[in-house]
Amino acid sequence: MSFLSIIRRRLIFLVFVVFGVTVVTFVISHMIPGDPARMMAGDRATNEIVENMRRQLGLDQPLWRQYVTYIGQVAQGDFGISIRTQRPVIDDIKRFFPATIELALAALIFAVAVGIPLGVLSAVAKDRWIDQISRTISVTGISTPAFWLGLLLIYLFYGRLGILPGSGRLASGIAPPTTITGFYTVDSLLTFNWPALRSSLIHLILPALTLGFVHLGIVTRQIRSAMLEVLQEDYVRTARASGLPRRTVLFGHALRNALIPSVTMIGLAFGDLLYGAVLTETVFAWPGMGNYVVQSITALDFPAIMGFTVVASTAYVLLNLSVDLVYMWLDPQIREVS
């Protein structure tokens, strides 16, 4: 099957997924108990005002018509007005999304930078003490409640040692850098804003460690098992037998091939990181999508919940698609067949 036909099939699937997501979130958000019209109008509003509000929000229409209206708007990138922030949901998403991506990327970098060497070491020294330590780390990683780890880190580095901030993206006295990418670290670097760069980096450390630790376990485990598989291959044995230096065999032959199956997993892990961000952001008051959606749920703000879910799911499916394409491109066997 060629690249193009795979892309075409996956894009058609994407349409189905987005359709499914909108239907499910629409139904869910209308099951949420409570009356958004009354919430928006306030406690002291008369029934008449509440009715007006209901009409204004389109809540007096039959459900299917509300859905049709909604899907028409979504197609144009309009997710309605957030009940809680009173701003267009799409604007809120644009504002909070970069913070989440920045956090997830930082976490992924941490997980990969530590996880790959650890996984390689673990495979090479199979069943020795370093392997036991690395397996213990990876099992602890996937078993740790992220919200709890975040609290412990805040207690230790902010409360006890006082060397790292415990919440937010920047110190309170520092203005955010000019928006270019929405990532504070990148933007402050591009605008040579050193105080903002320093502050955004130190604010990123604890949340990224918290979020990354869980995925460190997943990456280590994946690299370990891929390496173990590759190390038994004939070409690795041949390379060894022909007297190539151990390093060359390990990194030039084995790791390169072990990374191929790992790409998929690491890519998928990035999707999970986006959702893991929900808890981490809550603990660190990180102004990202996770925090936004938790507050929206508490406030029964369904335009915001639906907007978030639709955007997040679409991003997730697109991410999976690109991961698969990268995988196909990396694997010569698949590349040559197509």
């Binding site: 869910i28 609290l151 412990l152 098992s225 997730y316």
Partner: protein, 296 residues
């Protein structure tokens, strides 16, 4: 993994050993798996014995001893209304672990039935079910569980149902794959051609081989389920006060973090240890049942 193939490698005791004996033999060979099993046995014991081993009533207020530091009288200290945190952690095992087990039981039960049905029926019904599951699997599952739990109303039962529902498709896929591959396995066909009774084929060849990966997945899932349920409780969508539930205790303890570190720390530690137990056991079982992982 089957007995026969293991014997061929000379890694197993005499053939006369029973299935359970063999399982036990394999378990003992892996120290980490034994640690996992040990943790689970202790946690299950605590679950059952909580009323007898907890030094205090978990709901008893003691306003004179609020937020007391850990001591011999209160191993894990006390909370903001003077309840004994150690006793609440012990009792919390009942809530948190039961919820985890229930989530997996529900998702495994429904998923396996739907998946096996889909695989055996085949054709359009199968395609339709699987495409639907693909769509559901593309949803961000934690966010879906959050939205569902919020919609159903924030309490522990609803959080449990929400998590179980979003986990069903994983088992559907697994069970369907098993049903499909086992139908055409040479040893199943061979047994049929020898005229073995169907019941015997089902019992000896299909069931043990179909259930192994599902049980492994379920064991690994219990840890995840406990983590997810406690996460929902942490953001206020699961167990509500005054229920002794680990995630909810961490959530309340969060307000006291900087001055009373022990309050959120011990309930969270309980979640971690329990999840480690199930993950270690699940890992060990997977290595045992997956022939490719053997000897690694």
């Amino acid at each position: 993994m089957s007995l026969e193939s293991a014997e061929a490698e000379g890694t197993t005791p005499a053939r006369s050993s029973s299935g359970v004996g063999y399982l036990w033999y394999q378990l003992r060979r892996s120290p980490l798996t034994m640690v996992g099993l040990g943790i689970i046995v202790v946690v299950l014991f605590i679950m059952v014995a909580a009323p007898w081993i907890a030094p205090y009533n978990p709901d008893k207020l003691d306003l004179l001893h609020r937020l007391a530091a850990p001591s011999l009288a209160h191993f894990f200290g006390t909370d903001e209304v003077g309840r004994d945190i150690f006793s609440r952690v012990l009792w919390g095992a009942r809530t948190s672990v039961t919820v985890g087990l229930a989530i997996v039981a529900i998702s495994m039960g429904f998923g396996t039935v739907i998946g096996a049905f889909s695989g055996l029926v085949g054709g359009r019904v199968d395609t339709l079910i699987m495409r639907f599951m693909d769509v559901v699997l593309s949803f961000p599952s934690f966010v879906m569980a959050m939205a569902l739990a919020a919609a159903l109303g924030p309490n522990l039962i609803n959080a449990m149902l929400a998590i179980a529902v979003v986990r069903i498709p994983f088992y559907v896929r697994l069970a369907r794959g098993q049903a499909l591959s086992l139908r055409s396995k040479p040893y199943v066909k061979a047994a049929m051609s020898f005229g073995a009774p169907r019941v015997q084929i089902m019992r000896r060849h299909i069931m043990p081989n179909a259930m192994a990966p599902i049980i492994v997945q379920a064991t690994l899932d219990i840890g995840l389920a406990i983590l997810t349920a406690s996460a929902l409780s942490f953001i206020g969508l699961g167990a509500q006060q005054p229920t002794a539930e680990w995630g909810a205790m961490v959530a309340t303890g969060r307000d006291y973090l900087l001055d009373q570190w022990w309050y959120p720390t011990f309930p969270g530690l309980a979640i971690l240890i329990t999840a480690v137990g199930f993950n270690l056991l699940g890992d060990g079982l997977r290595d045992m049942f997956d022939p490719r992982m053997r000897g690694r």
